[in-house]
């Protein structure tokens, strides 16, 4: 850890992921186990009316899978960009301390700043275009 020359000083094999696999399998087993055990003791009297979708006591009109206005479609796109950004920032952030300790902190800072500023410009553009609003305002276009 103390040697600043070694930036990647540890490596782990795939075996450290074993408990995660065990936990995921446990999750699946517990879920289906509980649901199946419940199947033995719970009542089952299905009727057509009971198995309709809940619509406050009325019979449901049509399906829920219909066209409707998905708000924040653009926000979803911005999310992907920012998510990739944060994924790319993790390696840079984890070596920053070591670079700083050997005196290259300023250089790394400028690189991080450059990267973040491009994204800030992107979100500022979206903001000014009104894509972050609930109702995309037309007034911002007219200006």
């Amino acid at each position: 850890m103390e040697n600043p020359q070694v930036l990647a000083d540890s490596s782990q094999g795939l075996s450290v992921f074993m408990p995660i696999l065990i936990l995921m399998v446990l999750g699946v087993v517990i879920f289906w186990g509980a649901v199946l055990v419940a199947g033995l003791i719970r009542p089952s009297k299905p009727s057509k009316l009971k198995q309709t979708a809940y619509e406050c006591g009325e019979l449901p009109v049509g399906q829920a899978w219909s066209h409707f206005n998905i708000r924040f479609y653009v926000t979803g796109l911005i999310f992907i960009i920012f998510d990739v950004e944060s994924a790319l920032m993790f390696p840079a952030a984890s070596v920053f301390k070591k670079l700083n300790s050997i005196g290259l902190g300023g250089l790394a800072l400028i690189e991080i700043l450059l990267f973040v500023m491009i994204l800030v410009a992107g979100i500022a553009y979206c903001w000014s275009k009104g894509d972050l609003d609930w109702v995309k305002s037309l007034s911002s276009k007219e200006k």
């Binding site: 419940a38 198995q51 899978w65 998510d83 972050l132």
Partner: protein
């Protein structure tokens, strides 16, 4: 400090390392961890009802067991005996798989939750990154649950859940990044190692930017766990019950369990990143690990971790019963117009602080300035 739990026990009991034994330790550890997490989730529902009762001058559950403590077991038994109703028009496969995705996503994060130095199942090098990545499964489960039900309430709840969870991931991740900057690694072990037992050694008081980052992280994780004031996906006064309107019995129970355990995990991650994690004040744990009972050190560390986590959990519950729910547009503008720019500013601010003050925390700077002034005389 050892790398993982089996290694610790093998060294403790002087056992020979074998793959079979490692698997056994992992399996027992995972089983115990899942049970503890489920009990914590159950007790959290009890705590939620009891604390809300306190705040509203009611009594709350007090019939089952001492002080009503076993209420969650009674609830579980009740859920077990409820009829399983699935809408005829629903997508059967996705409907069944959605609560499972929530549960699996949350259980998988438990492996890296740093409850103590050696009892943690795996100290992954990519710890924080892994938690952020795998907890997205919960958002997927919520969206699929809402979509597969083929009910309008569920679909609206699912859509809200999806947009809310993905949006609030951004400020949370960027706040985490400023901690990664400070600690120089994404492993929870590294992050805890760079903090100390006393509050002035925690990252939350390292510099003003991390203090704001903690607040941003906390607000963001409230929204990620669908907790009030951000419980829009299941807003019972507008959407009946949101994405789990059509779920009954055990499947609903697992949605609820996943939600409560997720709050616990997010509080635990918050306590580790910002509040010193399992560090014990005055080096008590290093002292105890040199005595003939090294497990005592783990117990003390567990105590430190759980105290901080449950303190945060208490705060989460109190917030739920204090603040009114936000509107959807307010929710989104809070995330994209306030939290995200603030989090980006924090990230840059932390980086500049590190370069300018050479990694020193604010307390260290004050101390150095004090000793410098004192040395002048």
């Amino acid at each position: 400090m050892t790398d993982n739990m089996p290694q610790f026990f093998q060294e403790l009991f002087h056992l020979e390392t074998s793959d079979c034994l490692t698997f056994l330790f992992y399996f027992i550890g995972a089983f115990i961890l899942v049970n503890i997490a489920s009990v914590i989730g159950g007790l959290a529902t009890y705590a939620e009802r009891k604390i809300s009762a306190d705040m509203q001058l009611r009594i709350g559950p007090n019939r089952v067991g001492p002080y009503g403590l076993l209420q969650f077991l009674a609830d579980g038994a009740k859920m077990l005996m409820k009829e399983n109703i699935m809408p005829l028009m629903a997508d059967r496969f996705l409907f069944n798989i959605a609560p499972m995705l929530c549960l699996v996503g949350i259980f998988a994060t438990l492996a890296v939750l740093p409850i103590s130095g050696n009892l943690t199942l795996a100290h992954l090098d990519v710890g924080v990154f892994y938690v952020v990545a795998i907890s997205s499964l919960v958002g997927l489960g919520i969206f699929l649950g809402g979509y597969a039900s083929n009910s309008k309430w569920s679909l609206l709840g699912g859509m809200r859940g999806a947009s809310q969870i993905i949006s609030y991931e951004i400020p949370v991740v960027i706040s985490i990044l400023s901690i990664v900057l400070l600690s120089g690694g994404t492993s929870f072990k590294t992050i805890v190692h760079h903090q100390g037992g006393l509050p002035h050694e925690w990252f939350v008081l390292h510099n003003p930017f991390t203090f704001i980052a903690f607040i941003v992280y906390f607000i963001g994780s409230l929204a990620e766990a669908n907790r009030a004031p951000f419980d829009l996906p299941e807003a019972e006064s507008e959407l009946v019950s949101g994405y789990h309107t059509e779920y009954t019995g055990m499947k609903f129970a697992f949605f609820a369990l996943a939600e409560y355990v997720e709050v616990f995990v997010l509080c635990g991650v918050g306590a580790t990143l910002f509040l010193g994690g399992f560090n014990v004040p005055f080096g008590l744990d290093t002292f105890l690990s040199k005595t003939p009972f090294p497990l005592l050190a783990e117990v003390v560390q567990l105590g430190a971790f759980f105290t901080k986590t449950f303190a945060l959990y208490y705060l989460v519950i109190v917030i739920r019963w204090t603040l009114p729910r936000l509107r959807v547009d307010q929710l989104m503008s809070l995330c994209w117009k306030y939290l995200t720019p603030i989090a980006l500013f924090n990230l840059i601010g932390t980086a500049i602080w590190m370069v300018y003050f050479h990694d020193q925390s604010i307390v260290e700077i004050i101390k150095a300035a004090g000793s410098h002034a004192g040395g002048g005389h």
